[in-house]
Subunit: 198 residues, 2 copies
């Protein structure tokens, strides 16, 4: 039967409408202003229709994670294209990463702050988030090790350190407005980056 395939295509298309709507809201209004009715309105469906395609709201919005990661990665790749490999590229990637999550605080909320629904692909998604920054930098850390700039275990420590530092920095700035202005934020970021890569 071709019918089954057609159904599948249509179902995926409809799911896509909801996901697209959710992504738009997340980037614009932010995660606080997201709601089932909000998403459904934008997707052109009734709010209850959403539950024919997704287990619950959390399920839907966490499907956006992968898309946003891809978008973020592409942006950073473009921005750091001309940078020299190694430390300098790690620096550029970090700056691009910070920039992205400051530009879209709703996506930061989604990645790090929003509670996930208990069941489902919870573990997979949280691992995706946990390893995201590592994946962005991995090639360059390997490069540093291959060039003898860092020892393997030392590079590993710095990699973890950088990830945790960047996450903490964004959390304070996006969620607690600390430090109070962007200039101070960038100064701290720069200093800490230099400290870790010294």
């Amino acid at each position: 039967m071709l019918t089954e395939e057609k159904k599948e295509i249509q179902e995926q298309r409809t799911k896509g409408y909801f996901i697209q709507a959710a992504k738009e809201i997340l980037k614009g209004e932010g995660i606080r202003l997201i709601s089932v009715r909000n998403i459904a309105d934008r997707a052109g469906y009734s709010y209850a229709t959403l539950y024919n395609y997704f287990k619950d709201l959390k399920d839907l919005i966490f499907l956006c994670v992968k898309d946003f990661q891809d978008e973020c990665e592409i942006t950073i790749k473009e921005e750091t294209e001309t940078r020299a490999r190694g430390k300098e590229k790690i620096e550029g990637i970090t700056q691009g990463y910070l920039k992205y999550f400051i530009q879209y605080p709703g996506i930061f909320d989604l990645f790090f702050l929003e509670r996930m629904s208990e069941i489902g692909s919870k573990q997979k998604t949280s691992e995706l988030i946990y390893t995201f920054f590592d994946r962005l930098c991995q090639e360059e850390w390997d490069f540093c090790v291959s060039k003898g700039i860092f020892q393997a275990d030392e590079a590993e420590s710095r990699k973890v350190e950088l990830k945790l530092m960047v996450t903490g920095l964004l959390l304070f700035y996006n969620n607690r407005r600390q430090p109070a202005n962007f200039e101070d934020f960038m100064n701290i970021a720069k200093n800490q980056l230099a400290f870790i890569l010294r």
Copy 2:
């Protein structure tokens, strides 16, 4: 008039009942299960009475921050009493800090994740949170500088680094269950701590 003073005393007492109830819920059920009705029930009042004493719910629960900080500080002080000053004490303080926010994830949520209401003592409270860990360690960093273990600017960098690292670590573990078990968590914490204090 003595009446004014009496009123003040009674008002503070009543406020205290609400705050005490909120603190109990935050430590127990956590911030997700907190609600106006929930707090008022426990305090022995109607839920609307709460609004006679607090601007809104957020206002109330962020009044708990100072109390929890004091409690946390006292606990850590006791635990690290016998430690040698300097690096070793910083290590102990960090461990106690991690322990506290893992034991009470609801308090972690309150400190770092929960959105504050826009007006009021927002800035003051967020600064209190931002500087908390720094204040816990400050004496020991100063000690290190005075003993020539670190230079002043170097100590400052490490202090900031430690704060951001610890915050990121707790965020991933408490909110994303990454790493997946406590043993891994403690190993990472230990390694990173050694990296920063090296």
